[in-house]
Amino acid sequence: MALKSLQYNQHTFDISYEILNPEAPIDLIILPGWGSNKELMKGSFAPYMDTFRHIYIDLPGFGKSTSSVALETKDYARIVELFMIHINASKDIILGHSFGGKVALLLEPKVLVLVGSTGIRVAKPLKIQAKIAIYKLFKLLGLKKLRSLFVAEDAKSLSEPMYQTFKNVVDEDLSDDFRSSNAKTLLCWGDKDTATPLSIAHTMQKLLSDSTLKIYDGDHYFFMKHAKEVSQEIENVFLQTLEHK
């Protein structure tokens, strides 16, 4: 592991990262999801794709990377971009899981790999809508203390700036960015994903100009069991970009 300090908007961010296959000529940036970390991603993908230089990054506020301010998705993209300049990495392939997928999209890589990615707003299930309505009512009644019963699993135990960040990024819709993306895109999804249901992938496919969808058995973390197959797909898609030239 390694740590690099960056300045962005007058704030210092310590970015924890790790590089595998440092000699490899093609860069593969891997971005974990919300609340996740590079070790989880590395645990899945490290044994494969050894012709790529793997760059695992903890996004600011997660893993061992720090953030003391509230951020938006585009800030995440700019920070990762800045970091990439520092380590002299190119945007050959960027893989993002879940929230990391949105960040990857905004980075406009040559090959975009979205693994159970967010970025398309879906209607909230009735249960969640009811929870929000009830809490808003409680808030009116001055029962703010009950917040912990209602707050989303992903938002629990977040620091104040990260809670603000959560609110900034949670229901975002990046349809326009998907529509304008020129990246060769590989969508990999778990068929039993409840966090980012498969319907999201279908919507993304419609918006993206050049995409392939691969569906695997499993939930939001299906890639942990299918890393080998996913890796092979990534290599195939990357090879196709070479053929075009």
Binding site: M1, L3, K4, I19, P22, I87
Partner: protein, 345 residues
């Protein structure tokens, strides 16, 4: 002999300390041992000897064991009806931060507890590799040339490759890398900066001879271990060193001429004297063209370098019987009394 092994600590080497303690439990089988674990939140737990297994700590089972706290002269276990004393000599076996940076030494000195381990001043000089260089310069001991880099200041290096990059304040090869060309430097520095804001770099000399010598002073005399030439493939990485910490098999003596052996021992004595009394330390040396260079001082070596001693139990007992005593200022308020008298009050 009765001995309390203090291990754990809030350090990058926390887990290594656990491995060290488990190893010593085997190596000191004729001792009457007790174990006190310092967790990452600086709480002390009395660990049942039969529970001295790595899993106990990784699963958090130590939290179900009795907590102890420091008080004047001993560790105290409070219970519903009074308290139990855990007195006797402590072996400070906390590697890295807390144990080797002088924190534990201060604590034990303050509470007047006898311990085997480096005192505050010796910790300062051995914990930070920059200060070890200064110590050696003052004592006219040769070290490898070096430069200091800091994470908040960019500067060019004036050294030709290959070089070795080390965090200033860590042992066990954590965060250490060998850099063969400039393009690899940035990452190697970031790896080291994860552990410390200050980093030292030295030329990496392929084929340089490395020798380890452990020892201590007791009853006015030096007692040395055998000299070992550590096995290395390029250098000991973390995994290897980690294995090294659980070492218990004895090693064979390094083949070296008596002149070098004398030089190693006299250099050791120069470092140790008037600074490391009370500790069993291991010095790692380089030898190049019959010249001895000090590489680093380990004031709490992994598993106390037991594998380098012919009779480790007897050695440790000898050291325990010859620990430095502290001189504490006696206050009898003479000065205030005399002023009070003069004022006629």
């Amino acid at each position: 002999m009765k001995l309390t092994i203090l291990f754990g600590g809030a350090s990058f080497e926390h887990e290594i300390s656990i491995v060290s303690a488990i190893t010593l439990r085997e190596k000191l089988s004729t001792y009457e041992l007790s174990f006190i674990f310092c967790d990452q939140d600086h709480k002390f737990y009395l660990i049942d000897s039969s529970k001295m297994k790595a899993n106990t700590f990784s699963k958090g089972e130590h939290k179900n064991m009795p907590q102890v706290s420091l008080t004047n002269g001993y560790f105290e276990q409070k219970s519903m009806f009074g308290s139990t004393k855990h007195a006797g000599v402590v072996l400070n076996l906390i590697h890295g931060a807390d144990g080797e940076d002088g924190t534990i030494a201060s604590l034990l000195d303050f509470y007047d507890i006898k311990y085997i381990g480096p005192r505050v001043d010796s910790s300062v000089f051995s914990y930070d590799k920059r200060y070890t260089k200064w110590l050696c310069a003052a004592k006219k001991i040769k070290t490898i040339e070096y430069e200091v880099l800091s994470s908040n200041e960019h500067k060019n290096i004036n050294m030709s490759y290959p070089i070795i990059v080390k965090p200033a304040r860590l042992g066990s090869s954590i965060g250490v890398s060998i850099v063969k060309e400039e393009s690899e430097l940035d990452y190697a520095l970031d790896v080291a900066f994860e552990f410390d804001k200050s980093v030292i770099i030295e030329p990496f000399m392929c084929g340089i001879k490395e020798y380890n010598l452990a020892g201590f002073m007791a009853k006015g005399e030096f007692h040395f271990s055998i000299i070992e030439e550590p096995q290395k493939n390029e250098f000991l990485d973390f995994e290897k060193k980690y294995m090294d910490f659980s070492r218990s098999e004895s090693v064979s003596k390094a083949e070296l001429n008596s002149n070098i052996e004398m030089k190693l021992k006299s250099t050791f004595e120069k470092i140790y004297k008037n600074l490391f009394e009370g500790a069993l330390i291991r010095c790692d040396f380089f030898v190049l063209n019959s010249e001895v260079y000090l590489n680093e001082i380990n004031p709490i070596p992994g598993s106390m370098a037991n594998y380098l001693f012919n009779d480790f139990e007897a050695s440790l007992e000898l050291l325990a019987s010859s620990l430095p005593t502290q001189r504490r200022a006696k206050t009898n308020y003479d000065y205030i009394h005399s002023i009070s008298k003069a004022k006629g009050k």
